[in-house]
Symmetry: C2
Subunit: 339 residues, 2 copies
DNA sequence: CTGTTAGCGCCTTCAG
DNA sequence: CTGAAGGCGCTAACAG
């Protein structure tokens, strides 16, 4: 592959002149510029961005470290991040941690070595250590979706507590009193927040809490299925079920169907996170919808601002609202079920 | 950020010794090794991969250039590519072209400058120019999902022709004679292939082809919706509809519902590409399912082999089969509709 | 407007 | 086992 010196000698100029034609064409006389451009063309010269990066300390690359691109929520985030990044000349490296601390650590370490210009991180745990390992290197970072108490970072996330609160309120208004929550990993802030919102709604309604109905699992279909199955095998059934995310609810719905129960007649189901309408035809689930595209876009813009104007922006938290969308997976409690 | 010389002076050794501790620890005496490691630790030294890449001509980065990560088919591909790549120490840069030639060109150019080690490309057109611009630079590339006649590249794709043929046969066996196909952009090989498969089945069945029922659109929900709407506004309605991909079918189904028609009683709908079952609860569409995870994995492994053993693997094409999955969106033609 | 010098951080080559 | 020299490709800084 031709380099800048090859071009220079073919065009009978010095390498720096070629560099100028590439980066500041107006500082080169038209005559030599034409000669250089011809040489570039002839050799099929492609400037080496690695060398440039070594000098400039800029890679024009962002890292997007999330849990699983396969969840449509994260798919949307990834799409918006890539849109916002490429609009400003940045590429995006995608990484799936599957909520695993070890994978996250490995990715962060590799990406730091690659000198990405910034991180968009969905941390696997609320603990600050991973975030701080990046802050310590003074590499810009924006935390996505989850809070990291004690770390001075930018965070862009949805109001999970309010989302879960709204869903629980909705169920209460339908007459439900026996409401189970299938939550995510307790090390993740959104899981805690959603349980908090659920509890607040119950408390406000003066309903005693049954700890057997606060169940912790993973944010996956499999886990939602397994936990729901176990729950439904018990003697006393809830009349409503709150999935802490879309995947948990989808898994739970499968368990419910297999158990021969009807949604919403026998059991109402709600969750945080929507599923894109165009994917499912007629949307069925009552949800507290987040705005993943917005989440990704705002986070990326924040990050790019940090990169362009280092040290000018004190850490801030952007909290997006969720929207309660009532559909067909919830119904009033029927007589039989009421205690 | 500390560099190798800082570490060296702190440890009282030369930079090359630090380098050896990092890359060939066994060639350094335990005593100095410990000293160097302590210095690394103390300074929080992170090796600069850019400098290393400049020397080694390796970035350990792959480019994944696809049309739209938002389509669950590509989401799956992206997931498998990232899995296979990271298992072998490579990162993945994600790019969405939206089937646009100009975006693709821009991405390829930037990525060539970044000296990615290889490309996984879903070309926007069957034309070979984009692929050849990469081959010319001797950068490894594997074409995904689509064929590029005339280019000597590795290709991993599904047998679209057979998939569409199978779907059409299925409809014919159900008694359908008026079958419309909503195809994708004719510049894309899969769209051509799927129309070919459709035509072959009709021809074999001795059914005259109605060119009004071969409709070209984009591979998007919006386009599927628009084209179906137009089709359904016509005087003569088909009894079955073949969407060239999942998005087209989803859009078409919406148009069908809005028109007040029932699937499959009034109209059968099939398509190429499945939608992940766990996403939709009870899968409804009869499809020719591809294996996106497999597609991505095989392509990535092919690419990594090319990267590791340059020039040892003549271009090959891997053709994956599709699987006909009959569900609830197809039914036998009813009496009213038969001509 | 153009060129020379030097160095970004690392590692291959060759000596010691 | 350790080090010195040199260069990967590019571009600031400083001439001319």
């Amino acid at each position: 592959m031709a380099n800048i010196r090859d071009v220079a000698s073919l065009a009978q100029v010095s390498p720096i002149t070629v560099s100028r034609v590439l980066n500041n064409p107006e500082t080169v006389s038209p005559a030599t510029r034409v000669r250089v451009e011809a040489a570039i063309e002839e050799l099929g010269y492609i400037p080496n961005q690695i060398a440039r990066s070594l000098r400039s300390n800029r890679t024009n690359t962002l890292a997007l470290v999330l849990t699983d691109i396969t969840n449509p929520f994260w798919t949307s985030v990834a799409r918006s991040v890539e849109d916002a990044a490429s609009a400003q000349g940045f590429n995006v490296i995608l990484c799936n941690t599957d909520e695993r601390e070890d994978k996250q650590e490995e990715y962060l370490s590799v990406l730091l070595r690659k000198r990405v210009d910034g991180f968009l991180l969905v941390p696997t745990r609320s603990e600050a250590s991973a975030v701080e390992s990046i802050l310590r290197q003074k590499v810009p970072i924006v935390v996505l979706d989850r809070s990291v108490p004690g770390a001075a970072v930018d965070v862009v996330r949805s109001d999970s507590e309010a989302g879960a609160y709204g869903l629980t309120r909705h169920l209460l208004e339908l007459g439900h009193r026996r409401i189970a929550i299938l939550s995510g990993p307790s090390v993740v802030s959104t899981a805690q927040d959603r349980v908090d919102g659920y509890r607040r709604a119950l408390t406000e309604a003066g309903i005693p809490q049954n700890e057997h109905w606060v169940l912790e699992g993973e944010y996956t279909v499999e886990s939602g299925y397994a936990v729901a199955r176990q729950l439904l095998a018990g003697a006393e059934l809830p009349t409503a079920l709150l999935g802490a995310n879309n995947f948990i609810a989808l898994g739970a719905m499968q368990a419910i169907r297999e158990r021969g129960l009807h949604i919403p007649n026998d059991l109402s189901v709600v969750c945080v996170d929507d599923i894109p309408a165009w994917l499912v035809g007629e949307p069925f689930l009552t949800v507290a919808a987040q705005s993943p595209y917005d989440l990704g876009r705002q986070a990326t813009e924040l990050l790019l601002r940090q990169i362009r104007e280092p040290g000018q922006h004190p850490p801030q938290e952007i909290l997006l609202t969720t929207e309660l969308i009532v559909r067909h997976s919830t119904a009033a409690v029927n007589g039989n079920q009421r205690k």
